[in-house]
C-alpha cells in the first residue's frame, strides 16, 4: 500500500485551525479593494457560493431547484466592512455568522417581480438610488425591474469580482479547506472498507452520506461517483469526443470481483468544496498490468509536481504531463489535467482545458492557488488508473492538502 501525499512532503503553510473572523475580514478587504478599483458602490450576489464567500454564512446546500426560489442574497457595500445578508431564516446561527442584527434581513424572492420590488426598496435604503452596482447573475424579474435597482447603464458583471478575489486562498481559507478534505477522506475510508463483490454502488453512497455528516460536513455537493470502468472505451457509452465517458451516475448495480472503480466525490465544509478521486479494484489485488498503470500515473504526477510552483504557467504543467506520458495528453479531453478548488468544486485555474493552449501559456500560477491534479492512464483493453491530488501552490513549489493512501496499489 502506498502512503498518501503528505508522507513525502509535510504541509507548513496551512494553519491547523482557521480564524474565521480574520478570514472574513480579509475577504471583505479584498472585495472592497476590487470594487474600489471599478468605482463600485455595491455588489449584489445571488449565487449560493458567492453569497457564502462574501458573508461567511454557512448553510447546507439544497437541490438547485429549491435554491432558485429560496436563495440567500448578499450585498457588499464599498464603505462598510460588514456585508448585508438577506436570508430565509435570519435567526439562524449558521446564517448569522459574524453579522450584526442590522445587517441581517428577511428573505427576498428575486424570481418574482414583487420580490424584486421589495428588495429594491431595501437596497435603496442602504445605498441611495444613484449608486453604481455590480451583480453576479440575473433572474428575469431582476432584469425586468432593473430600472428600480440600477441607475444609468445598469449593473456590471459582479461575478468577475468574486472570481478575482477567490482565486488566491488565505491561510485561514486553506485551513478550512484542509478540514473539508480531511472529512472527505475520513468518510472515504469507511466506504473503501465496504467495497466488495455484491455491494451496490448506492450502498457505498449510503455509507458516504452518513459518515460525512458524522464527521462534520455541512452538505454533500455531488451525487458520488463509483464508476465501473469498461476495459475498452468502445464498451462504454458513446461520447461527443470519442474518448472516455466519465463521470457516469451511480445506480443499484452490484459490484463484481475485478471491477475497476473510478471514485470521484466531494463535500462542503465551512463554505468550501472538497474533491476526492481514486481508483479501486473490487475484491482483488491489482494485477501486474494495473500496478504498471499506477506506476505510470505516479510518474506523470511526479513530473507535474516537479514543475509546479509560483511563476510556472499552466502550459508548463501540461507539457510535463505529456512528456511523462510519452507524448499523449494524460487527461480526459472534456475535462482537464487540473482545476482550481475553493468555494466551487471546479474553478480557475483550469489547466489543460478546452479553453486552449494559448490560455494555458498565459495562465501563471501564483502562491495561494489551490490545484486539483487529475491525470489518467488508460490502456484500451485493460482500463486504466485515475486519482486526484489537491495541493497548494507556494513560492518555491507546492504543498499537499490531501493525504489519502493509494490502497490497494
Amino acid at each position: 500500500m502506498s502512503a498518501g501525499l503528505m508522507a513525502s512532503v509535510a504541509p507548513t503553510h496551512i494553519p491547523a485551525t482557521p480564524d474565521l473572523a480574520r478570514m472574513q475580514r480579509q475577504r471583505g478587504e479584498r472585495l472592497r479593494g476590487l470594487m474600489g478599483a471599478q468605482g463600485l458602490d455595491a455588489l449584489v450576489l445571488l449565487g449560493n457560493t458567492n453569497v457564502a464567500y462574501a458573508t461567511g454564512a454557512v448553510w447546507p446546500l439544497a437541490d438547485g431547484g429549491r435554491t432558485n426560489f429560496e436563495q440567500p442574497v448578499a450585498v457588499v457595500l464599498a464603505d462598510d466592512p460588514t456585508p448585508h445578508l438577506f436570508s430565509p431564516v435570519r435567526e439562524d446561527d449558521r446564517l448569522r455568522a459574524e453579522l450584526p442584527a442590522d445587517h441581517l434581513h428577511g428573505p427576498v424572492y428575486l424570481d418574482f417581480d414583487e420580490g424584486v420590488e421589495h428588495f429594491a426598496a431595501q437596497l435603496t435604503g442602504l445605498i441611495g438610488a444613484s449608486a453604481v452596482i455590480a451583480l453576479d447573475e440575473w433572474t428575469h424579474a431582476l432584469r425586468r425591474e432593473r430600472s428600480l435597482l440600477f441607475a444609468g447603464d445598469g449593473p456590471s458583471d459582479g461575478g468577475r469580482i468574486i472570481s478575482a478575489a477567490k482565486v488566491l486562498k488565505t491561510p485561514d481559507e486553506l485551513s478550512c479547506m484542509r478540514e473539508g478534505l480531511r472529512i472527505t477522506e475520513q468518510a472515504i475510508a469507511e466506504v473503501q472498507a465496504l467495497v466488495a463483490p455484491g455491494v451496490r454502488q448506492t450502498d457505498l453512497t449510503a455509507t458516504f452520506l452518513r459518515t460525512i455528516f458524522d464527521a462534520g460536513a455541512d452538505a454533500n455537493i455531488l451525487d458520488p461517483i463509483w464508476q465501473v470502468m469498461p476495459s475498452n472505451i468502445a464498451d462504454g457509452p458513446w461520447t461527443t469526443t470519442g474518448d472516455l465517458a466519465c463521470p457516469l451516475l451511480s445506480t443499484e448495480r452490484a459490484l463484481v470481483e475485478g471491477d475497476v472503480l473510478w471514485v470521484d466525490t466531494g463535500v462542503s465544509y465551512g463554505g468550501f468544496h472538497s474533491d476526492f478521486g481514486r481508483t479501486w479494484i473490487v475484491g482483488r489485488e491489482p494485477s501486474a498490468q494495473q500496478r504498471g498503470q499506477f506506476e505510470r500515473w505516479q510518474t506523470i504526477m511526479a513530473a507535474v509536481l516537479d514543475v509546479t510552483r509560483a511563476g510556472a504557467t499552466a502550459a508548463d504543467l501540461t507539457a510535463a504531463a505529456i512528456g511523462a506520458a510519452g507524448g499523449v495528453k494524460p487527461w480526459m479531453p472534456h475535462f482537464y489535467l487540473g482545476h482550481g478548488l475553493g468555494i466551487d468544486s471546479a474553478e480557475m485555474p483550469y489547466v489543460g482545458s478546452d479553453i486552449g493552449e494559448a490560455f494555458d501559456a498565459s495562465l501563471v500560477l501564483a502562491p495561494g492557488m489551490v490545484l486539483v491534479l487529475e491525470p489518467i492512464v488508460w490502456d484500451d483493453g485493460a482500463a486504466g488508473y485515475r486519482s486526484e491530488e489537491v495541493l497548494l501552490v507556494t513560492d518555491d513549489g507546492w504543498e499537499p492538502m490531501t493525504d489519502y493512501p493509494y490502497d490497494p496499489f
Binding site: P60, G115, A206, N220, D223
Partner: protein, 377 residues
C-alpha cells in the same frame, strides 16, 4: 426491482411534458427555449444528469426548438439520454464560450430565430446569445415554463407520490434515531443514509432536522447541539426520485410524547386543516396566507406553500409576496407542500409540511402517515 442502469424518464411522461412546452412556445411565439436550471432541463429532455448541490449560474444546458420539436442537450455521453435526442444533438462539457457559440449557431433556425426564451441569465450568457442568435430578442421563459410545469399530468403526480413515500420511509428511520444526545447533523446523516440505502442518492435538502427553540419562534442553534429530552425536533424530509421532489415535514419530541403539548397540537392540527380547506380549485393562493391570520398564528418566515415537481416548482406562497399570492389561483393538477408552523414560548415549535395534490374534487394528501403520530400513542 433494483435499478441498475441509468435510464431516461419514461417516454409517455417526457413526451407529454415536452408537448406542453411546445404548446406554450407556440402560444407565446417563442422560437427557442434555452434552459440552465436542472429541473427545467430534465423537464425538456427526460435525461438524468449528475446531481450537484446549490445554485448554478445560467448556462445553455438544454435547447428546445419550436419548429421541429428537437432537443439539444449538454451531455458528453449518451448514457441515460432518450433515443429521441440523437447523438448529433448532444454537445459536450466545455470551458470555452467559443465552443458553446458554435453549438448554438449550429442549431436549426439559429440565424433567423426572432424570440429566444431562457430561464435565467448571466452577463456572459447575454453576450453569447446575442452572437448566436443575431436576429433574436432574449425574453423571459420562466412564465411559459411555469404554465407548463405547475399543472401536473397524472403520471407526474404518481412520480411525486412515489418520492413522498420514499421520503416517509427514510424519515421513519431518522425518527427512530431521535434520542437525547444525537445532533442535528447526525440526524441528517441518518436520513441521507436511509434514502440512499433505498437506491436514491439525491436529496432535495440537506437540512433535515433541527431542534426548535423554546425561547424564540425561529431561532436555530448550531447543528452540533445535542438533542435534550423533551426537545421538539422538526424534520424536513425531501428526496428527488427520478428527478421528482417528494417532501414532508414532521415534528417529534425527544424521549417524550408530543401529545403532552395538547394545546400546541390542537393549534397545529387546526391550522393544517384550515390550510387544506383553503386548497380548493379556483381559490386564490392568498387563502393560505389568510388561514394563518384567521387562526391568529404568526406568519412563518418560510413559505406557506412550495410547488413540488421536477425539482422545486411553483406555486410559491409566502407572506413576503402577498400580491403574488392574491393574483394566482389554485388549479387542478397543482402539487405543493403546505407548511403549518406553530410555536409556544417555553415549549418549542410544531412544524408540519404536508404534500398535497389538487384534484377536481379538492385537495388530496399525498403522505400516508398520520401527521401527528405521537398523539395516538
Amino acid at each position: 426491482m433494483p435499478i441498475t442502469e441509468v435510464l431516461p424518464d419514461d417516454a409517455a411522461l417526457r413526451l407529454a411534458r415536452r408537448t406542453r412546452l411546445l404548446d406554450e412556445m407556440e402560444a407565446t411565439d417563442v422560437d427557442l427555449l434555452i434552459v440552465g436550471r436542472e429541473g427545467n432541463a430534465r423537464y425538456v429532455s427526460g435525461a438524468p444528469r449528475l446531481w450537484t448541490a446549490g445554485s448554478r449560474a445560467f448556462g445553455p444546458g438544454c435547447v428546445l426548438v419550436r419548429a421541429s420539436g428537437a432537443v439539444h442537450l449538454l451531455s458528453t455521453w449518451d448514457e441515460g439520454i432518450p433515443d429521441d435526442i440523437p447523438h448529433e444533438n448532444l454537445y459536450g462539457i466545455s470551458f470555452n464560450a467559443a465552443t458553446f457559440l458554435k453549438v448554438l449557431q449550429g442549431i436549426e433556425g439559429a440565424a433567423t430565430a426572432r424570440t429566444v426564451a431562457t430561464d435565467a441569465l448571466t452577463f456572459s450568457a447575454l453576450r453569447l446569445l446575442g452572437k448566436a442568435f443575431p436576429a433574436a430578442q432574449v425574453v423571459d421563459g420562466t412564465d411559459l415554463l411555469a404554465r407548463a410545469r405547475q399543472v401536473k399530468t397524472p403520471e407526474e403526480i404518481g412520480a411525486i407520490r412515489a418520492s413522498v413515500r420514499l421520503a416517509e420511509s427514510a424519515l421513519g428511520e431518522t425518527v427512530s434515531a431521535l434520542t437525547p444526545g444525537i445532533t442535528e447533523r447526525q440526524l441528517t446523516g441518518v436520513f441521507m443514509e436511509a434514502m440512499a440505502a433505498e437506491g436514491v442518492t439525491t436529496p432535495s435538502g440537506q437540512d433535515v432536522a433541527w431542534i426548535t427553540s423554546r425561547d424564540h419562534p425561529w431561532r436555530r442553534a448550531t447543528r452540533d447541539t445535542a438533542v435534550a429530552a423533551g426537545d421538539l425536533v422538526a424534520f424536513e424530509a425531501g428526496v428527488l426520485r427520478g428527478g421528482y421532489v417528494g417532501e414532508l415535514g414532521r415534528t417529534h419530541a425527544a424521549a417524550e410524547d408530543v401529545g403532552v403539548h395538547r394545546d400546541l397540537l390542537d393549534r397545529s392540527e387546526a391550522l393544517l386543516r384550515a390550510l387544506v380547506v383553503a386548497c380548493q380549485p379556483g381559490a386564490p393562493l392568498s387563502g393560505l396566507l389568510d388561514a394563518y391570520t384567521a387562526a391568529g398564528i404568526p406568519a412563518p418566515p418560510v413559505p406557506v406553500a412550495r410547488g413540488l415537481g421536477l425539482g422545486f416548482d411553483l406555486p410559491l406562497v409566502t407572506h413576503a409576496l402577498p400580491r403574488t399570492a392574491s393574483a394566482r389561483h389554485i388549479e387542478v393538477g397543482m402539487v405543493f407542500s403546505l407548511t403549518a408552523y406553530v410555536w409556544d414560548q417555553g415549549v418549542g415549535a410544531l412544524y408540519v409540511q404536508e404534500p398535497i395534490a389538487i384534484t377536481a374534487t379538492g385537495p388530496e394528501l399525498l403522505s400516508t402517515d398520520a401527521v401527528h403520530a405521537a398523539r395516538s400513542h
